[in-house]
């Protein structure tokens, strides 16, 4: 019998080793800021509880299955044993205690993540509007009056308040190493505080499915010192071209673009949180129409769209020099 159960045990053991050794490499468990760190701590706290539960259930299963397997000289058979109030009370109460033990830190974290991180509470957060458009990210710095596409610069050790919205599909703004995500929706504005404690480039992405270009709906976050950030912002303001309404409308077309930089923001004329129809109207103005993906027209449209975006990028090659 033992032989028959062996795969179960070997497997469990393997998995445990796998899990404990692999943890430090996972980016969610290797945060570079206080928000991510808080979430990592909560995750690790829950993992210990879960491993304990698994251990108890597996040990009990192994014991019972081994001891009460059908065999010659089987002992202890009691076909009418149908319950025990004591035992059942125990396993109503223990999970309740575990749920309470998990609920308290969870609720604390939920509340604390609504505001800026504890360690930098007294600092004024940098406000950045992040707008998702199929399949690019537009970042507006209202205070600096600059706008970037598909990348952003942030100062380290200072909370950043992201005001999230979308021009079309529902997206999710996520920079795993800085902290958890939140949805960006047209006609709404959600807020997310993140902070980087280490300089470096972090990958961010949309993690909520938005159709064909979803996989590459990504951006880079560059965390730098305060001085560097200020220098970058003022240089951008001085050198980068202004964003025209026409250019912005073209950004509303579905497709990817590379990184871009502008010395003004679209917030001057549209707030997608208040005007969810803007992108659709822009597409109409430009004579764009979504075609059936499988039809000949759809395939041609797709090719045309890719060329269009390439042209847009070329006309903006100036902006590119500011990306890094």
């Amino acid at each position: 019998m033992m032989r028959r159960l062996k795969p179960f045990f070997t497997f469990g053991l393997l998995m445990a080793v796998f899990m404990l050794s692999g943890c430090s490499d996972m980016i969610v468990l290797d945060p570079k800021g206080p928000v991510g760190a808080e979430q990592r701590d909560l995750i690790m706290y829950s993992i210990w509880f879960m491993l304990f539960i698994l251990l108890v259930v597996y040990a009990l299963t192994a014991f019972i299955v081994y001891k009460y397997r059908d065999r010659k000289n089987h002992k202890g058979y009691d076909p009418d044993n149908e319950g025990s109030h004591l035992l059942e009370t125990i396993w109503w109460i223990i999970p309740i205690i575990i749920v309470i033990a998990l609920s308290i830190p969870t609720v604390k974290s939920i509340y604390s993540l609504e505001g800026p991180p504890e360690e930098s509470k007294d600092q004024k957060p940098l406000v950045i509007h992040a707008t998702s458009v199929n399949w690019k990210w537009v970042f507006s710095y209202p205070e600096q009056d600059i706008e970037t596409v598909n990348y952003l610069h942030i100062p380290e050790d200072r909370p950043v308040l992201f005001k999230l919205t979308s021009a079309d599909s529902m997206a999710s703004f996520w920079v795993p190493q800085l902290g958890g995500q939140k949805y960006a929706m047209a006609g709404m504005e959600t807020e997310l505080y993140l902070q980087a404690d280490e300089q470096g480039t972090y990958e961010g992405r949309n993690s909520n499915f938005t159709g064909e270009g979803f996989t590459n709906h990504t951006f880079d976050v560059m965390a730098m010192s305060d001085a560097e950030f200020d220098k970058w912002a003022s240089e951008t303001k001085a050198d980068a071209p202004e964003l025209s309404k026409g250019q912005y409308d073209k950004l509303m077309l579905p497709g990817h673009v590379k990184q871009m930089t502008f010395s003004s923001t679209h917030l001057d004329w549209v707030d997608h949180a208040k005007n969810p129809e803007y992108a659709l109207d822009a597409r109409e103005r430009l004579g764009y129409e979504e075609k059936l993906p499988h039809s000949k027209a759809g395939k041609e449209e797709k090719k045309k769209r890719e060329e269009e975006m390439k042209k847009l990028e070329e006309s903006e090659s100036h902006g590119d020099s500011h990306a890094h």
Binding site: P7, F8, F11, C23, M26, I27, Q39, I43, S46, M50, I53, L60, I64, V65, Y68, R69, D70, H74, P79, N81, E82, G83, E88, W92, P95, I96, L102, S103, T106, V107, S109, I110, L164, S169, M170, W174, P176, G179, G180, Q181, K182, Y183, M185, A186, G187, M188, T190, R205, S207, F209, G211, E212, F214, T215, L280, E290, L292, P293, H294, S295
Partner: protein, 646 residues
């Protein structure tokens, strides 16, 4: 409309599918004609109102859908096996994961379970049929037609590609034009009618048709779980019906419930979807729990431990299932209070579920455990489902969920609960009740191969995905870069996926092998069972189930009778004429009209849709003037069927 908009073109895989569909159809038509099976097909199957036959048809359809959804899964896993693979393009991948999710939940898991419920529940409660046999046929055919409508999308018009959750505004006309999303809406809508009718039918059946003496607290656990499931269906499915109808209006008739324009609320869709979608999870898990209770108790040769606690925990789970839907979008910025409340209610679901796990374990305690294949699947369920359960609690912690949301951590979690819960139960239940349906057991040795290959493959496939999630891999991406470092674990995962595919093939081989070579059952009690379905004297119960309705004196009535050596022999003088309902072709014809209506709406050909709807109402009208009250089975025929010697 042009041809290139009607048929999906330009993809060799799709041409292959076209050819195989046509060949299969020709093959079936040829077979039916050559062996003169048309009449048999019509009389025995298409017009049947026998719950056992309908159950078998449900299961056959579900197995076919498992194959379709499984092929989808393997295509996805192939694409993801290595970084930057070019096997599928983005659009194709999106269509495949959308249909995979929809098919597995709506057209595989639910019909599989409903099929087993159809076969077993009337027998378990000692009834001759369900409360509304004709309605039962309508349920099956609307489900079947809905499934077929959804399935043809990949060769005609193009599949939906907005994910099985179909979040707006992505699923709107502006961002997902064409028939794909309409297929989703209409396929689910038509199948949903069938599910809701099943909910009503079995609720009434279980409440009103139980054999004398079977009080609610003497019902077998599977019947109990079915009852609770039907209640959830009755409350949840109308929400889906309304949500789908609203989105259909948005897409076909220009309304603005969820759209970007006209003050539509995209979040409203998400709320409605999950208000149905979360209870749906329990619709597919509670019957599974019921089956495991039966199987574990049977093969431990012991009464279920904590019968009443099992029922109360199930009722609690059912209640909770309606109170937790927001955990599907903790990241939607609903605020700290809302997230806290839904965090705690979600974690609380773990409590009754945990209680059930311990009760199953203690059912085996002091038992005499036999390692039959259904029992192996049940043990595998306990061991694997717990992993899904504990990670579910982790996901319930909203502050941590901000990091897991929409990642492979989530993908792994729900496959651990749905496969280790529902799919294991479908296999366990199928093998357990196979002799009831077909009169012979599936081969045990091959069955064990299926179990081990599938279970190991399942873990190899999904366990690495927890780590991929923690490493930041989002769900639904069609490819990833070399630098992401996700390559090796994805390769492992793909290997596991193919192992599950191989296990499925062995299962199909087992069906063939057992059909050819398995020893035929001579009594109805193939496993030395405990509940009434095993008490029929013939291996497969006749169409009227019980020649004489049993009288129940307590839980596990049949088992206790056997223990006491008091199993009653059927005597000729006990037999009275049995009233049974007549077969009817109307449900099948009505469903065909549903197909016409649905197909017309998918392509927005309103003349066709209206014709179909008129047909549906026509069949309803016809039925309301049909005065067929069924017929009586004569005493002689019963005596003959039951082989009673005078």
């Amino acid at each position: 409309m042009k041809w290139d908009e009607f048929f999906v073109t330009g993809d060799p895989m799709i041409y292959g599918a076209d050819v195989s569909i046509v060949l299969t159809m020709v093959g079936i038509l040829f077979y039916l004609t050559k062996y003169k099976k048309w009449k048999w097909l019509w009389d025995e199957w298409l017009t049947t109102v026998d719950h056992k036959k309908l159950g078998i048809m449900y299961i056959v359809s579900a197995v076919l859908m498992l194959f379709r959804g499984g092929v989808d899964a393997l295509l996805m896993r192939t694409q993801l096996a290595v970084p930057e693979a070019k096997f599928l393009d983005s659009q194709h991948y999106n269509e495949i994961f959308t249909t995979h999710g929809t098919i597995m939940i709506i057209f595989m898991a639910m019909p599989f379970l409903i099929g087993l419920i159809n076969v077993v529940v009337p027998l378990q409660i000692g009834a001759r049929d369900v409360a509304y046999p004709y309605l039962n046929a309508v349920s099956f055919w609307t489900f079947f037609i809905g499934a077929m409508l959804f399935n043809i999308s990949f060769v005609i018009g193009g599949s939906p590609s907005a994910g099985w959750t179909s979040y707006m505004p992505l699923a709107s006309n502006e961002l997902s034009p064409g028939p794909g999303q309409n297929y989703y809406l209409l396929g689910l809508q038509i199948a949903g009618i069938g599910t809701l009718l099943t909910g009503i039918n079995f609720l009434v059946t279980i409440l009103k048709m139980r054999a004398p003496g079977m009080t609610l607290f003497r019902m077998p656990m599977f019947t109990w779980s079915s009852l609770v499931t039907m209640v959830i269906i009755i409350f949840a499915f109308p929400i889906l019906t309304v949500a789908l109808a609203l989105m259909t209006f948005d897409r076909l008739f220009g309304s603005h419930f969820f759209t970007l324009q006209g003050a539509g609320m995209d979040m409203l869709w998400a709320n409605l979807f999950w208000l149905w979608g979360h209870p749906e999870v329990y619709i597919v898990i509670l019957p599974a729990f019921g089956m495991f209770s039966e199987i574990i108790s049977t093969f431990s040769r012991k009464t279920l431990f904590g019968y009443k606690a099992m029922i109360w925990s199930m009722l609690l789970i059912a209640g909770y299932s309606f109170l937790v839907w927001v955990h599907h979008f903790f990241t939607m910025g609903s605020g700290a209070l809302v997230n806290s409340v839904f965090s705690i209610t979600t974690m609380a679901i773990g409590i009754p579920t945990g209680v059930k796990i311990f009760n199953w374990l203690f059912t085996m305690y002091r038992g005499k455990i036999q390692f039959t294949t259904p029992m192996l699947w049940s043990l595998g369920f306990i061991v694997n489902f717990v992993i899904g359960g504990v990670t579910g609690v982790m996901l319930a912690m909203a502050a941590a969920d901000y990091q897991y949301h929409n990642t492979y951590f989530l993908v792994s979690h729900f496959h651990y609960v749905l496969i280790a819960g529902t799919v294991f139960a479908c296999f366990a239940g199928l093998i357990y009740w196979y002799p009831k349906m077909f009169g012979y057991k599936l081969n045990e040795r091959i069955g064990k191969w299926v179990f081990w290959v599938f279970t190991i493959g399942f873990n190899v496939c999904f366990f690495p995905q927890y780590f991929l999630g923690l490493d930041g891999m989002p769900r639904r991406v069609y490819t990833y870069s070399e630098e992401s470092g996700w390559g090796p674990l994805n390769m492992v995962s793909t290997i596991g996926g193919f192992m599950m595919g191989i296990a499925f093939l062995i299962l199909v081989y087992n069906m063939y092998y057992s059909f050819r070579y398995a020893k035929r059952e001579t009594t109805g009690d193939a496993w030395d069972g405990r509940t009434l379905e095993w008490s029929t004297p013939t291996a497969m119960p006749p169409f009227y189930n019980f020649a004489k309705i049993p009288e129940v004196t307590g839980l596990d009535h049949f088992w206790r009778q056997k223990q006491a050596g008091k199993v009653e022999k059927l005597k000729a003088e006990d037999i009275k004429p049995i009233h049974m309902p007549s077969n009817s072709g109307v449900p099948f014809i009505m469903a065909s009209f549903f197909f016409v209506a649905g197909f017309g709406m998918v392509f927005e050909w309103m003349w066709m849709a209206i014709f179909g709807i008129i047909g549906v109402f026509g069949t309803l009208f016809y039925r309301s003037f049909e005065y067929d009250d069924g017929y009586y089975v004569s005493v002689e025929e019963v005596i003959e069927t039951e082989k009673i010697s005078k």
